[in-house]
Each structure stands twice: as C-alpha cells, then as structure tokens.
Symmetry: C2
Subunit: 463 residues, 2 copies
Amino acid sequence: MKLTTIREIYKDRDTYLDQEISVGGWIRSVRDSKTFGFIVLHDGTFFETLQIVYHDKMDNFSEISKLNVGAAVIVKGRLVATPQAKQPFEIQADEVTVEGASAPDYPLQKKRHSLEYLRTITHLRPRTNTFQAVFRVRSLIAYAIHRFFQDRGFVYVHTPLITGSDCEGAGEMFRVTTLDLDQIPKTEEGAVDYARDFFGKETNLTVSGQLNGETYAQAFRNIYTFGPTFRAENSNTTRHAAEFWMIEPEITFADLEDNMDLAESMLKYVIQYVLEQAPEEMNFFNSFVDKGLLDRLNHVLNSEFGHVTYTEAIEILEKNNEKFEYKVSWGVDLQTEHERYLTEEVFKRPVFVTDYPKEIKAFYMKLNEDGKTVAAMDCLVPGIGEIIGGSQREDDYDKLLGRMAELNLNAEDYAFYLDLRKYGSTRHAGFGLGFERCVMYLTGMSNIRDVIPFPRTVNNCEL
Amino acid sequence: MKLTTIREIYKDRDTYLDQEISVGGWIRSVRDSKTFGFIVLHDGTFFETLQIVYHDKMDNFSEISKLNVGAAVIVKGRLVATPQAKQPFEIQADEVTVEGASAPDYPLQKKRHSLEYLRTITHLRPRTNTFQAVFRVRSLIAYAIHRFFQDRGFVYVHTPLITGSDCEGAGEMFRVTTLDLDQIPKTEEGAVDYARDFFGKETNLTVSGQLNGETYAQAFRNIYTFGPTFRAENSNTTRHAAEFWMIEPEITFADLEDNMDLAESMLKYVIQYVLEQAPEEMNFFNSFVDKGLLDRLNHVLNSEFGHVTYTEAIEILEKNNEKFEYKVSWGVDLQTEHERYLTEEVFKRPVFVTDYPKEIKAFYMKLNEDGKTVAAMDCLVPGIGEIIGGSQREDDYDKLLGRMAELNLNAEDYAFYLDLRKYGSTRHAGFGLGFERCVMYLTGMSNIRDVIPFPRTVNNCEL
C-alpha cells in the first residue's frame, strides 16, 4: 500500500504541495459543520499532526463525522498550503476510507491523561503525545549508540542473558529453571537436584555482561555490549526496574583516561544526534516535561566534563554535610544526593569522580599505587546523578588473584577471567551505561516506568 | 593511548607509509635469526595481520624472541612498503614493549584447532581467524539491520524479556522466579504460592515479542524489535539454541505483499552491507568454510525472490515424495528437507511460500477468503531452509475472537491484543528473522554454537 507519511510531508513539503497523495493514520479529533469537516490526523511517523478537510459531497460524510478518536482512516486528496492558518498545510480530501473504527469506550480521549493512568494501559499509551515523543527518542538514542561505536570500529557483542555464574555479585538475581516447582526433584541428600534442570546446573539472569565482554575485547581490541540486564531487587523507586538495558563498552590498550574520553564523547554524540533527529520531540519535552532541558543539554555539548577524585569530592562534600541526609566521610559510598550536589551545585556540568576506595568497588578494578583506591570512574550528570560507572580493570594476574582471595571469591569460578591476565594481558578499561537512565536524562522523564515500553518492577509484569 | 590500528593501515596506507607509528596487538607468531626477527601481529581491528621486523640493537631482543603466541606487545617503528614480499608492507621496529606475556600453556597454538575443541574455550576462540571473521560479521549484520530499519523511519521497540503470559504458545518456556526452590511456599490448597514470587504471579522468558510489538506498530506505524528470545526445548541440533536473538518488524497499513517486499529488501540490504564492509572475512568464509558462498549471496542480490503458494508447493513436492524422509500431502507442515528442496532444487534462489493451512499456523494470522488458509509467508533460502516466518495479522475483531475460541484460548489473557482490533484497527503484517540463522546463512557456518559468543543449549551454560 503506497501511502505518503506525515514525516515526508513535513520534511519535504515542496515535493508534495499541490499533489494528489494518500495518507493513512489515526484520528486525534474530528469536527464538522453542515457541509464540511476537519480531521486532525496522526500517523505515528512524525510528532506533528496533519489537518484533513472533508466535505458533504462524499457518500460517507456522516459516517466520517461520527468517527471516534483513535479510528484509522486512509485519506486521498490534495496537499495545499495554508499560509493564513495555524498549520502550514492541509489535505483537501477527495476520499476518506475508514480502515478501522474506534469503539466508544476508547480509553484515550482528547483530554490530558495522567502518567499514572497511562501506566495502566501500556498497550495504548504510545498513541499519546508524551509517549510518542519518549519512545521515538528512545529508539533514536539506541541507534545513536550503535552508530557511535560502529563508526569507531567497535565490535557489537551479544553477551549471554542466562548465566551459570553470579560473577560480579552486582545484585540479586532471578533464577531461570525448567524444574516443576510443584515437584522439585531432590538429590539423595535432600538438596534441589539441579542436574535435572535444563542446563544441568543452577542458572540465573545476568546482572552484567562485562566479564564476558572483556574476553571479546582481548580479541577484537574494542567491543561493546547492548542488551537486557536484570535485578531482582525489592526496590520500588522511580529509578529502578527489574529488567533494563545496558551498554557496556570495553577497550584494550587503554587506561582510565581513555575510558573517560570515550564516555564523554559517547554522551555528547548521543545528545547531538537526538537534538538533530528529533527537534519536535525535544521541544515538547522542554515545554511540557522538563523546562530547561534544552539549555542543560546544550550546555553539556559545549562543556568539558569536570574531573575530581573521590578524595577531593569528599573534602568538598564534608564542608556541606549539613545539607545532606546521609553525612559523608572518606570511605562511604556516595548517595544520589551527594552526586547531584557535586554535578549540579559544585561543577554545574557533568563530572567524573575517580579513584574510589577499593572497599566500595568491585574486585576487578585496578588497584592504584596508593594501595587504597582503585582506578574507578563514575560519571555524574545534573538531574540524575550517576549515569555511567566504569573502571580500568586489574590486568595483573597476581594482584587480581590476591584481591579475589581477600574477598573469598572462588578462583575456579573465574578461571576464564584469570586466563585473560595469563595470555596476553593488556591494560584495559570499560564502563556501563544504564540505557533507561540515559533516556530519562535526555527526555526529562522522571519515572523509569515511563521510558520502558512494558516496565517490569516488583509485583508488576503486565502484558 | 594513541595507537594506529591495523585496519587504518590497510584502509589508508598512504597516510601511514614511511611514518613513525605505534601499533598494539597480539602475537600470532614470532621467529628470529641471530640479528633480527619477525613478529606476525594481529590487533583485532582487521582480519589481516601486520609483519613487524625487530633487531638485536634492542635491549630486549632475546626477551621478544622468546615470547609465546598470544603475547601482547606495543610496537613503535616505521611503516615501509615491501613490494617484493607477500605482505604489502611491514613495520621496521625501533621499540617493542611487552604489554603482557603469554604463558606456555596457551591453548591456541599456531596449528589449526577443530571447532569442537574451540567450543570448550569460548573465552579464547574469538582470537582465531574463524571466530574473528564470524563475530565481526555478526556485529556488522546486527548493525546493518538497525540501519535498514532506522533509515526507513522504523521505531526500535524493546519488548519485554520477562513475561507473565504464554501468549503465542510458540514453544517451551523457562520459568523466572525468586522463590527459594529449597522451600517453595505453598497456598492453603497446596499449590505453589506465586503471590509470593517477585512479580506476584507466574513469569517466564519470552518466546516472541510480536504481540507486544503490534501494540507499538498501531501507534508508530512501522516498528521493529531486536532482542533475545528463549526456547526451553530439549532439542540438541546444530540449528537450535535455548537463547537466541530475533528481529521482528511490524508494519501497519500493510498486507502480505508489503511484508514480503520488506523481507526481501532487508535480506538484500544486509548481504550488500556485509559484502562491502567485510570483504576479507567473506573471502575467508568462501575459501575455508563454505565454497560457493559468495556466488550464492551474489546470486541472491541479483535475483527476485520466488513466490509460490503452499498448495502449489505441495503439488511440486508430492511429485518428488520418493526423495523425502517425510512424505508430504496437503495439510502437513514442511520439514527442512522439503524447504531446502524447494529453494535449492526447484527455484534455485530464495522463495516465499504463502497461504498455509490455518491448522498449522498461529491463531493471529489473517484468514484468507477460502476459509482454509491464512495469509502466512515463510522465506526459504538455499543452505538453510526457513529463515523468515511472517504473516498478515487478523485485524477483524470478531474473526480473531472466533479463532481464539476454536483454539480454546482465553480471551481475557489477550484483552490488550483484542483492543488493537477494537480501537483503530489497521491491516498489518510482520515477520520474525532468527538472527543466528541469518548469521549462519551469511557466513556459511553450519553449527549455531559457532555463531553465538557464549551459546546456551541443553546441559550447556558455560561462562
């Protein structure tokens, strides 16, 4: 079926003006007088709508006039400029064909619905302005990330979702099983008999693809992952979901500086891409969701990110401890309130905090010469706090083994990871970007449930 | 760390010839005479290697000469043309710095290893020629698919992995749970108490994002998914994995013809992209993995795909029933042997088989006017058989409800899906492309375990 899209009309109007075209879409509103009527049509390809003028010479004039919001129609007619009107052009229709009517109980009417209400109809909410904007921008961000890495020769690696190891210990995991929960098979000793499970062992959903990703970085030089990740944490906040997507690049012959340069370039690239590709959506967010969003993003594009060590950051924060619910001192992990204070009040731009105490960071981070801190970096951004966390990795076999022993990690479980330090180890580094945090940051949306098509949170797994 | 990549050197040699550059990579082989030596270096950015000449004026001459395969080095030197030699240029090194040695028990030696052996070291096999080629091409195919759809304005939708419904019934599912399998909580009636599970209900890993995807197509016009999918089937074949990636586009104001056009354009686009971007890898596959691969792919690029109805296909196949293990007659599902016969022997190119009996296809496919067949299409390709399966969807509320009743599907479970037929229903269609099958098709690799970085199959979930 050859239909012209509303995007094509807006982006390339000269091609279509005064031409006979056909468009298809869904009705946002319809109103009629005695002899003619107006349809506001949306076709999902573009944020703006198209006005259709229809008239009583059509056989189905009264059928059209009775159509409900949400009905699907195909319109044939001529695109004409309307310099006096609010909209730049309209279609003067010769034919309006009803593709699918919309029942009177359509849950989306012309009024404004609350985000909470729209969360109860996740299958219909993408038809609203807000979610049209959110999910088009989500798609563009995903693509921008692929472009960024592919243009730079990075290899995209699909790390596994089902995993036999809880390697990183980054969080609570979901069990994956085909055992019959009604009749769990037991061994003679009375334990669960995982030998009879699908994989013959205990398996869970991954919390990170990093360790697997490192194996590919040591073969391809630079790689990235982009896939779903899971946390079975019982936390009901606006920032946590049980299922979310993560990007994890890993670069070799590279140190913490290279890692920060990469993170900064990537964020700027993605912002730039979305501002260019979705100006209508971004203006909408700026006007109706988060006033000041565009200024903030443009400021990021034009700033160099700040750099501060954890130790320096603690000194700054300690002087302002009266402002915080959780008081800071050297050795504590930073809370969102501290992160936001640093990036919003102190630096007024994105900032990298580096060199955290080893005790509050993962075992694989490279120990600094002071013996106390590791070559970690978190990138903090205004409005969100931490958006990226990364590190240079410990590439020394003996140091890594020692650190694992300190933490009572079983070296056998990490044999593959230790192998990377045994056979052609290189300095290397990487980071993780929570994709949904990135979407929230670029759109100004404040609840993670509103940037995931079908969000999964505690006690919520609808559709 | 600023290093020139071997890709940059090969793609843009004039920039680097007779220049001082630094490269970093892993040693494929090293040999020395008394006063100088040769390193064959691979850096993961390009399929070809780079020859390094080093000499005994270096302090670490003997250290270098003793390096094992797999060691990581950084080389500083001058790139010089070698018109008389096998390789087009080499680096005459001033300095070779050892970044990381390789222990003597390195499992990859210079000899050829079997694919079976390499499956036991999934963390190291990407360092071999075959898997360098496979996984770079896998990455390029993934990106080509994104490019294809994004360039056409499709919105990328992340459909959920954890699902509360077994909507499509497409296969055995993995249970996802946080219940303690040692002590499954029970209700008063003695059933598993899923109210105490993380989501408060039974949840599984998805077998398809299609139904969710349709909800977004009815908002954005054209969408695609690209994400992991799971099957808990106990089938130990070269074509089945428990975890694989799938692409599922869904288009509205579109019928089966549009769907086939889209599938054909997509496959051709991806083939073209990979041939352009990875000629070295594709030549390698053609020479060492699947002789005739390039001819076959080029033939696809230059052919229009064939079209045949299921009924016509059965007539053709019945005449050749003596050739098949499973005899065909109208009403049976096609096996791989039949699919391959059609595409390899009858059509000698990719072919769409359309209009299958409704009994062997899913409930959501649009019933044809004959009342017996549905508007389904499978795309068969030489060497593989079915690579794409799709259909026009039933868009009529009453017909869909009727078909669901015939199949004893509970309408309440599909309320969201029925809503799409109630509020602005449009003709729409879509298909699923198994990503790994696509990678196998383009590389000639014959076992799915060799095109997935860390494959998951029955009793196998390593790393």
